[in-house]
Symmetry: C2
Subunit: 271 residues, 2 copies
């Protein structure tokens, strides 16, 4: 328990420092975490007798961050628009994963499909945290990614302990209750509202909407990771963080909240 | 054999008419073909005891074409840039496929991963043919998609018959030879060059480069489909086209040549 608290505090401090620094420091950290996350995810498939390819995934994730980095340096470096490069990245990624099947005697479609899924679900999803940190004038929203992921979790836990009666997902995650979920959402909306009031008052309402959307998707992120781990027959994705499991165990909700917040900023607020 | 020739001719005429009309007619046809292709692909997983979800895929493909269609009508309809909408589409698609796993008792990761793969490999790849048909001033390149797919195939066949000695892929597709492959590439570069010379002389060199790239990727498209069918234990994906199999059997190479040509136009030529 003591180990868990200490390492939890260390993670919190490191995360906070990265969020304060934002920009390229956060970008580089996200790149490393994406690679580590994909690696953990792929390891989990072992028990399912599925063998995704980490080399292809590492290459694909590297190209993703490289395209994003070159795009940040202005349109001059890459011709064409960023969106087309991203779509071309998706195409090239899927082709690379399918070519992996050409050694037909030893590989099966599941191997390629797991590689594609890991790249998109872990690498591409996590990339959005880095992308928010690069948004001119909106990079403070990286904090909203963490608020929606971790406040939801904490508020849901305590609401569940105090008011929990009706099981929400008895099979996937037996301890979760509807009362906990509602408490998690309400708590996150409140904290998001306070954060917006203090740090970006003109976007107060947007922060509360993000709190609502983020809290809901955060729980889906948590449950998705639980489902994969259940099917893989593992308790944790890794053991990197003593008492907390691996990168993916700690950031399973961030995978889902980061893209939702990114697209809310870019498409709804219109950054 | 007679059936095969007649239905082949019908397909060729229908395809030619669609390519001449281009624009929204081709766009609508590609949408339908994408749905039919995904459906065929998913059916093939039956023997592998994998159950992708067609409803999610149909929804995702519909949103993809809808986003593209709204994007075409000008930036006014959708706020934000097209690229961000496309990336948001990918995120939403993957989330939807993962949520499919929440019925944990009856579903397994392979079901979700196959759904993701089908949407991207068939739906997203094929969409690029429609996208080329909408490119102002460059829509004539839809013909290059067909030239690279079908001229490669035909030239490879005849070169293989006349000069074929060294097996290229004995396990995946035993009849293919290196001599056939080289003949396919050379033939396609020549036909592409003639096409460029007659219809778009300023882009003659680009047409020949596309011929080279397209011919190579076209063979990968063909072999990828062969691998999936082999693993699925089926000879053809479908029986819609008498003597030719299903949509995917006929357009397996187009899935790969269309995106390559689209990104060549958008990122290299810079349309």
């Amino acid at each position: 328990m003591k180990t868990r608290i200490i390492s939890g505090a260390v993670i919190a401090v490191v995360t906070a420092v990265l969020l304060v620094l934002k920009g390229w420091v956060l970008f580089a950290a996200c790149y490393l975490l994406s690679l580590m996350g994909v690696h953990e995810f792929f390891k989990g498939f072992k028990a399912m007798n599925i063998t995704p390819n980490f080399a292809i995934a590492a290459g694909s994730v590297t190209v993703l961050y490289a395209v994003a980095a070159l795009g940040e340096r202005g349109a001059g470096v890459l011709g064409g628009d960023m969106g087309s490069w991203m779509m071309a990245w998706l195409f090239a990624t899927v082709v690379a994963c399918l070519l992996y099947l050409f050694k037909i005697e030893v590989r099966k479609p599941e191997d390629a499909m797991a590689t594609i899924t890991g790249i998109v679900y872990v690498g591409f999803f996590f990339y959005h945290l880095a992308a928010i940190g690069m948004l001119d004038g909106y990079s403070i929203f990286v904090w909203m990614v963490m608020i929606t992921a971790f406040v939801t979790d904490t508020c849901a836990y305590f609401s569940g302990v105090f008011f929990g009666k009706h099981k929400m997902t008895p099979v996937i995650s037996p301890k979760k209750t509807w009362e906990g979920a509602v408490g998690g959402v309400i708590g996150t909306i409140i904290v998001s509202g306070i954060f917006g009031f203090v740090f970006m008052r003109p976007l107060l309402v947007d922060c509360m909407v993000i709190g609502l959307l983020g809290a809901v998707i955060s729980m889906f992120g948590d449950l998705t990771a639980s489902i994969f781990k259940r099917k893989m027959g593992i308790k944790d994705y890794g053991s990197l963080i003593p008492g907390h499991g691996g990168i993916l165990d700690r950031f399973d909700s961030v995978l889902f909240t980061a893209p939702v917040i990114y697209y809310y900023i870019v498409l709804v607020i219109g950054a």
